[in-house]
Amino acid sequence: MAGFFDRLMGRSSAKGSGSKARERLQFILVHDRIHLPPERLEEMKREILAVISKYVSVDEHNVDIALQKRDRNPLLVAEIPFHKAAEGPDDDADSFLSTEDDSPLLNEDGDEDEDDEEEEL
């Protein structure tokens, strides 16, 4: 539909100040809507990364944490790639988990009964 209108209006796909306005608006509004200025968001990202880095080795160069929106609701979307485990044989996921079973995160998961049931059967 939008494509049809674009063609109807003979709108060029070349980037004019209109698309610049669009980008700026999207950035401004997403911060307005969560009442979080960009510096605070950066701080939050650093903290999220710090927490995750306590448990796994994060590939920091390829991290992408960004605010997006779904309809009118803000949404934090994070893509945080890990490095492969440095020591030990490059095994499957199960054995990777079992090597770090003293971490609080995994203990929490382990407490849930349903999760364990399947393995016991």
Binding site: L8, R11, L25
Partner: protein
């Protein structure tokens, strides 16, 4: 809650007033985007469609709507006079010259902005609902008392904005506030659109703005020099058929009445018609 929602079954408690009229508030956040122009023109357009309409200027201290309507010489009483009991509601309603079913309640010029409360506005509009089909409220810019007053009685809220970053940002703020007050979903009027600039990609388009704000659009009004000349003359554009902005306002009025009216093309350059011809020729 909309039209006729207040029809009561003969019941236990005090009967609520019969909610005939729809109260439509025109707001924006940012100043100067075209609220008063829109209020005047939608009012005129609805009256031309044989609707009984009262316009209320809720911009206390900055009286404006009377001038756009060409009714400034006939003001005796104003909104604050009604609220403070110095006159009857009827006495503050100025009848339009050409359109017998169009009235204006003017705002007060130099008074305390807190003279009117949201409860006053609800009471006043309830009094009018029985006798009108539409009550249209021209909201002042900003989000203070005047904004609260204007949205308190609203059944529908229309947000006017321009295709500019700052105006759209303020519109977003208003949408958020309205959601918090359960006054949504508001609808959008995009005013002062320049078709040629949109075509060149140098201006936000209606699709851009509705996409970013995630609300429905009820009107797209082109930039039109005749808006200024008609304001100068005190004869809203929508009185006649021959301006693009006037037609856009008439279309909004018809959409308010539930009609499905296609959005008119924003571009009247000769090329536009060639392009349409080409599109249809190519079977698209």
């Amino acid at each position: 809650m909309g039209v006729n929602a207040g029809v009561t079954t003969s019941g236990s408690r005090t009967p609520a007033p019969v909610k005939r009229a729809r109260v439509v508030t025109i707001t924006s956040g940012k100043g100067g985007v075209g609220k008063t122009t829109t209020t005047a023109n939608i009012g005129v357009a609805l009256a031309k469609l044989n609707q009984r309409v009262t316009l209320i200027d809720a911009d206390i201290g900055l009286r404006n709507l009377d001038i756009i309507m060409g009714l400034e010489n006939r003001i005796v009483y104003d909104l604050v006079d009604v609220v403070e009991g110095r006159c009857k509601l009827r006495q503050a309603m100025i009848k339009h010259k050409q359109l017998p079913e169009l009235y204006l309640i003017p705002s007060a010029q130099t008074r305390d902005k807190t003279a009117v409360s949201p409860a006053d506005m609800i009471q006043l509009t309830n009094q009018l609902r029985k006798e009108m089909d539409f009550i249209i409220i021209d909201c002042p810019a900003g989000i203070e008392r005047g904004f609260r007053n204007a949205i308190a009685p609203a059944d529908d809220v229309l947000i006017v904005t321009n295709p500019e970053v700052s105006a759209v940002r303020d519109a977003d703020r208003i949408i958020g506030l309205l959601e918090a007050e359960n006054k949504g979903p508001a609808k959008l009027i995009l005013n002062r659109v320049k078709g040629d600039m949109v075509r060149k990609g140098e201006m936000l388009s209606a699709e851009d703005v509705t996409d970013i704000l995630a609300i429905k659009i009820i009107g797209i009004v082109p930039e039109d020099d005749t808006v200024v000349s008609s304001s100068n003359a005190g004869t809203p554009l929508a009185l006649s058929e021959n301006s693009r902005a006037g037609v856009a306002f008439q279309n909004i009025a018809r959409r308010l009445m539930g009609e499905t009216v296609p959005f008119m093309p924003l571009d009247d350059s000769p090329n536009f018609f060639k392009r349409i011809a080409r599109l249809f020729a190519s079977g698209q």
